[in-house]
C-alpha cells in the first residue's frame, strides 16, 4: 500500500460545472503503479491537495469501475476555490482512499433506498453508477427494488440534473425541492425530501437505506424510516466532519468517540444512534 501521509500526483482530465456553486473534476493518477493499486469503494473519500493552498476531503462521485476518479465539489473555502480554477492537464495531489464506504455487498439482494440531500448526492451517485454498471438485471425489477429520493434547495441546485433520466432506468426516482422558482417549470415535489417516503411502500424486512445530506436532513430521514419500521441496522448514513489527516491521527473529525475518517464516514445507524442528536458533539 502506498504511504498514506504523502500525496501522489494526479492529472485533471476534465472539469464540469454542475450548479452555480458545485463542479465535478475527473482525475487520473499519474504513476501507473499507484494507479493499478488504487481501489476504492463508493462512499470513501480522497484528500485533494493543491500544493501551497492545502487539502480538502472529497468523496468520490464516480463508480470504482470508471476509468477516471471523479470528485464533485462545492466551492466553499480556499482549497475548493483553488480546485475550481484548475483546468484539464493541470495536476493536483491526492491521498486516499480513506474511510469506510457504503455496504454495496450487503445491499445486493435487498431493496435499496437511496436518500440524498444537496451535495449529499455525490457519494450516492457513486453507488448509483456502480449499481448501473454491475448489478443485473440492469432494468427495473419488482425485486430487488431500487429507489432514489433526492432533495435540493431549488431546481437550479439539483446536482447531476442531466443524469436523472438515466438513473430512472434502474431506480424509481423522486425529486423534491425546498422551494420551486415560480419563473421555471417544475414538476417534482416541493418540501422536505422526507415527504417522499409516503409514496414508497417500503417492505421494512428487506429494505436497506443509504442516506447522505445535511445532518438535520439525515436525522429527519432516519426518524421517518424508523417510524416505518426499517431497523436501525439497515440504515446507513454518511457523516460530515472536518477531516484533516484521513487516517485517525489528527483528531479533527471526532464525532463522539468515532473517527469519522476511519470508522466512517459511512456508519450503520445503530452504531451512532446514541450520538446523533447530541448537540455540538
Amino acid at each position: 500500500m502506498h504511504d498514506r501521509s504523502t500525496p501522489f500526483e494526479a492529472t485533471i482530465k476534465w472539469t464540469r460545472k454542475e450548479t452555480r456553486d458545485t463542479f465535478t473534476c475527473a482525475v487520473r493518477i499519474s504513476n501507473r503503479e499507484i494507479q493499478k493499486g488504487y481501489r476504492f469503494v463508493p462512499g470513501q473519500f480522497n484528500m485533494l491537495y493543491v500544493p501551497g493552498i492545502g487539502e480538502a476531503p472529497i468523496s468520490m462521485s464516480s463508480s470504482p469501475l470508471d476509468r477516471d476518479i471523479m470528485h464533485t465539489v462545492r466551492i466553499a473555502g480556499d482549497v475548493t476555490t483553488a480546485l475550481s480554477l484548475l483546468r484539464a492537464g493541470e495536476v493536483i495531489g491526492i491521498r486516499g482512499p480513506f474511510g469506510r464506504g457504503w455496504p454495496i455487498e450487503e445491499a445486493k439482494d435487498l431493496d435499496l433506498l437511496i436518500v440524498a440531500g444537496g451535495l449529499g448526492i455525490a457519494p450516492l451517485r457513486s453507488v448509483a453508477r456502480h449499481i448501473m454498471k454491475t448489478h443485473s438485471p440492469k432494468k427495473k425489477t419488482a425485486h430487488p427494488r431500487r429507489m432514489l429520493l433526492y432533495g435540493a434547495k431549488t431546481p437550479k441546485d439539483i446536482v447531476f440534473r442531466d443524469e436523472f433520466p438515466r438513473f430512472r432506468d434502474t431506480f424509481d426516482v423522486s425529486l423534491s425541492v425546498d422551494r420551486a422558482d415560480p419563473e421555471e417549470y417544475w414538476r417534482g415535489e416541493t418540501g422536505l425530501v422526507t415527504q417522499l417516503f409516503d409514496r414508497l411502500s417500503l417492505d421494512p424486512v428487506r429494505t436497506i437505506v443509504f442516506v447522505c445530506g445535511p445532518e438535520i436532513m439525515m436525522q429527519t430521514s432516519v426518524r421517518e424510516l424508523i417510524l416505518r419500521e426499517v431497523p436501525e441496522e439497515k440504515i446507513f448514513v454518511s457523516m460530515e466532519r472536518n477531516m484533516n489527516c484521513g487516517m485517525g491521527i489528527c483528531g479533527h473529525c471526532f464525532f463522539g468517540p468515532k473517527f469519522v475518517c476511519k470508522d466512517g464516514p459511512v456508519f450503520r445507524f445503530s452504531e451512532i444512534s446514541g450520538l446523533m442528536g447530541t448537540k455540538e458533539l
Binding site: 504523502t6 500526483e9 500544493p51 501551497g52 492545502g54 466532519r241 483528531g251
Partner: protein
Amino acid sequence: MSVTATARKLKKEDLSFVFDQLSASHRVIGPKIEGGVIVLAEIDIHDIPTGFEDHQAAGSYSLIRSDRPEIFSFSVGPDSFKRFLHPPVSEMFTFRRSRTSITITPPGREEKPLAFIGIRACDLSAMKLYDRIFLEGPVKDNTYASLRSNAFIIALNCSRPGDNCFCSSMGTGPEVKDGYDIVLTELRDSFLVESGTVRGQDLLARLALEEATGIDVDEKQERTAACGRAMKKSIRAKELPGLIYRNPDHPHWADIAERDLECGNCTQVCPTCFCNATYDLVRLSQVSFKPPGLSGVRVRKWDSCFSRNFGRVHGGNFRPSRRARYRQWMSHKLAYTIEQFGLPGCVGCGRCITWCPAGIDITMELEALRDAR
C-alpha cells in the same frame, strides 16, 4: 517485549555509566531546570536537578531547594516525551509545483536515535497509547515511526508522588509495568535496575553490575506502594466511561465553561493529547511566475480542541460553544479514548491541573458530574 532477567544494583554515583553507554549513539533526553521549571532536554548527568523539589497545586508550580537524599527528588514537569516523538512542529515534506507536475520530497530524518532517561509510569502509558494511535493504525505515521522505532527507554519508578498526581487510581502507575528497555528504582543507597528488552539486557551486561537481593526487590515494592498510598488525588476510574456518556447535557459543563480560559495549556502539557493540523508554508520568494510555479514545505503542528477552528468546516462549526469544547476535551480523555484505542486517555499525571491558569482540576470536575443535576 518483556524479558525476564535478574534485578541488578547500580551505585548512585555510577548512574553516569548509563549515560556513558548511551551518549555516543543516542541523544539522551532527561530532566533539566530551565526558567525555574523542570523540563526535558538533551542532557548529561550533571543536568539532573538533584536536590530540587517541585510543589504543585491547581494552577501553580514552584521549584525549591530541598534536602531530600534522592537523585530524582522531583516529579513530572510540563514536558513529556510527546515533545520529542510527536514534535510541536514537524516537516512532513517539501513540495514543488508547476502547472503540470508536483514533486514531493520527504524530509531528512535525525540520524541519532533518542534515549529517554527517567520516564515515569504515567508517561509510558501515554506512550503505549501513542503507539496505538500512530503505529497501529490502520495507517502507520512516518514521522512518529522514525522517531519512536529506535528510542531507548530508561524508565523510573516513582517513590514520591507529585502534588497533583493520581495515576494509582487510573491504574497507570506509579509502578512501571512494561514498555521500557531498563527501569530504575531509586532505593536508599542505590538504584535497582531491571531490563525489559534484549537491548536493555545487553546494556546491563556491559555495566557489569552486582545482583540485587530479595531485600532490594522488597524495598522497591514498598517504595512504589508507599508512593501510591501517598497520592492525594484520585479519579473513580471504575465509573468511566459511563459517567461521561450519561452526562452530555449536565449543567456542570456550563459551570466549567465559565472558568475556562480556552488557553489550551492542558492540551499542550497532556502527554496523551495528540491532535494536530497540517499547513503549507510558502515564502513569497518561492513563488515564480515564469514559468508559473511554487515550492514550499508542508508542516504538521500541534492543534487543540479548545481552538474555535478545531471543529470548523466551511459553512459551520461543530462545536461553537466553549462548553462543548471543554466537554469534548474531557470526554476524549476520560471516555472516548478507551473506546477508540482500548487504553485510558488520561494517565493521571496531573499536568493539566498544575498548568491550568484557572486551576481547573479534572478530578474535581468529574466528581461534580456525579452530582444529580
